[in-house]
Amino acid sequence: MIELKNITFSYERREQGGLRNINLTVKNGECILLCGRSGCGKTTITRLVNGLIPRFYDGELTGQVVIDGKDIADLTMYEISEKVGSVFQNPRTQFFNTDSDSEIAFGLENQGMPTEVLRQRVETTAADLEIQSLRNRSLHALSGGEKQKVAFASVYAMNPDIYLLDEPSSNLDMDAIQDLRKHLKLVKQQGKTILIAEHRLYYLMDVVDRIVYMEQGQIAGIYTPEQFRAIEKDERKRMGLRAVDLHEVHPQFTSPGATENKILKLQDVGLYYKKQAIVEHINLSAGIGEIIGVVGHNGAGKTTLSRTLCGLHKEASGQFLWNEKAQDGKERLRRSYMVMQDVNFELFADSVEAECSFGIRNPDKSLIETTMDSLGLLPYRTHHPNTLSGGQKQRVAVAVSMICGKELLVFDEPTSGLDFDSMEQVALLIQKLSAMGKVIFVVTHDYEFVCRTCSRVLHIDHGEQCDDLPLVPDNEENLKKLFSI
């Protein structure tokens, strides 16, 4: 049993994410979903339960967290870790070993479990979670979805009573999310207690027992799944929540469809990595202002395609035509810009304004001014990019692309881990760029977002281009099938 008693908490040096007067009791074997806008405090609750607050994150804490009758203030981090297993959002940085077997065994090694028992446990973990194919692999070579499975397995191997998951689906494709759901159902059957903080709600509706909705650090409502489903669509949007049932999400068909002027053409393009074919025979033409969603499984080659479109990946065959003229890598590089999933990598300067003119020999002051204005960045012109929110950083990157006069933009999973409001803002931003006449590619797993923005969906899997679906009413069925809905 987890009891949170009169918890009030505020982070040091940070406004968001604090908690006020939280009282919550989670019974053994119960599965609780924590939801709400970014910064509402749902992640903070998970950090209280696994002891990271106050041991790792500093701040002002009053109240008590009690697990199975013990105040966790009296326990050490490793004692808590035997009761509470945590899975985090970022698959890249939550493993500690370089191969999957060692990683699954890692927690058990720390507990000092005898080697023979430990091997047996790794064996059964892989069998229970059906991940034998991931055994004894280099973790760096796995896709995001596979890494996340190994992370779950390493917690499962420790056999904790409580599972904590903090936005575990953010980087997963649809199939990997279904596997995650299966794994959650399995541990629930075993009578474990589960606490999940998550933006994506649809996959959890038949797993959870109660849904805790949070607003500005307080619990604003507790629902059963039935009550939660009954919330009206408009009300749910006001609450800043994502869709509960993807069957009810329909494409909006608002984006400009195929225009006559096909400015970009790909003719029989093949992508290779160290002479190994990744994707072959891509044929595509895109008009000015088109927004093309690129979908496919984790590891299908979407990133390689994006990098090739931008001229960053060189091993490619076939023709890239822009205005009927063949383009080599250098020309593509000059014309295109990629907004990365982790935007931090593309921000170099010490203020937003300096960022906008960074690396440009004779920057056009008025262009910088108007661009910052149109993206709502003027109030932050002197701020250090690192102090901005994720969405603001994304806009700074977009501003850079506009000032450099880039005509083709690629967004790599721009909505991973975003709540409804932020997702809508990204959608508006991309539509604005489309209206300005850019050709836009969006790599994404986010069905809601695709419905909201894209005019076409390009599906890549099994080394080839499987579909090129225009988003017209006739194609809704196919689109749903593509996202396995």
């Binding site: 870790s81 890249r92 940085t93 500690f96 090694e109 917690v155 931008c310 590089l333 690396g359």
Partner: protein
């Protein structure tokens, strides 16, 4: 290996590796001649090859060979400021090179879990071991981060090549340094969180999925490096 895991090359205990590094540092700093240094590098490369790092080791030797020839050429040069400068620079390279290449081999062949268990067995304080383990784990992450940063720079027309480095050194360094630091602090936090929530601080005797312990191989490599060091000290005039 006993657990049926495929491992390329010989397995050496992490503690032995630390001892080797120590011997290598001593040999390199107290080297009597250039030829001796070349032999130290060759020994390190042999060690690398038996540990399964074939390509890395061969490239290491070839690059060192280049430095060796360059040094010989500089020594033939008429003496002057340029020669003094080059000799000072090359002298530093020769002292650091063998240890650098050995460190590379050690880091890439040591698993974090092995390292933790070995250190735990030798009763070395967790206050030292855990930060080093996080560091070991962080090294491959830098390589991944570097790929992203390189892409970002190229899209901004600030290519990370030698020409730009010479023309705009400050800007090029800023481009690499700033995002790398930003990513580093976040990555280090996330790695630490992932490890403490899985009980890395547990003081009980740690066990290991992979069997660790000293074997005959450890003895042989230590003897080889020790012999190298002693030969340098007592029969230095041979070279």
């Amino acid at each position: 290996m006993s657990n049926g895991e495929k491992r390329r090359g010989l397995w050496i205990d992490p503690r032995t590796k630390i001892l080797l590094l120590l011997l290598c540092v001593l040999s390199a700093t107290m080297a009597p001649s250039l030829l001796y240094e070349m032999l130290v590098v060759a020994l390190v490369a042999c060690f690398g090859i038996v540990c399964g790092k074939v390509r890395y080791s061969i490239i290491g030797v070839i690059v060192y060979g280049g430095f060796y020839l360059l040094t010989q050429a500089v020594l033939q040069m008429p003496s002057g400021n340029v020669q003094v400068m080059l000799i000072a620079f090359l002298g530093l390279v020769h002292k650091v090179y063998p240890c650098g290449i050995l460190s590379g081999i050690i880091i890439s062949t040591t698993k974090v879990g092995e390292f933790l268990s070995a250190m735990n067995r030798s009763h070395i304080s967790q206050k030292i071991v855990i930060p080093v383990a996080v560091m070991l784990r962080y090294v491959p992450t830098i390589r991944e981060d570097w790929h992203f940063i390189k892409d970002a720079m190229r899209m901004r027309d600030v290519s990370p090549n030698l020409k730009n480095f010479i023309l705009h050194p400050a800007m090029t360094i800023e481009c690499i340094y700033v995002p790398l630091m930003m990513a580093a602090s976040k990555t280090a936090d996330e790695l630490t969180v992932a490890s403490v929530t899985r009980g890395i601080e547990n003081p009980t005797q740690r066990t290991s999925y992979v069997r660790i312990g000293f074997g005959i191989a450890d003895l042989i490599v230590v003897l080889a490096f020790l012999a190298m060091f002693l030969v340098g000290q007592f029969y230095g005039e041979v070279f």
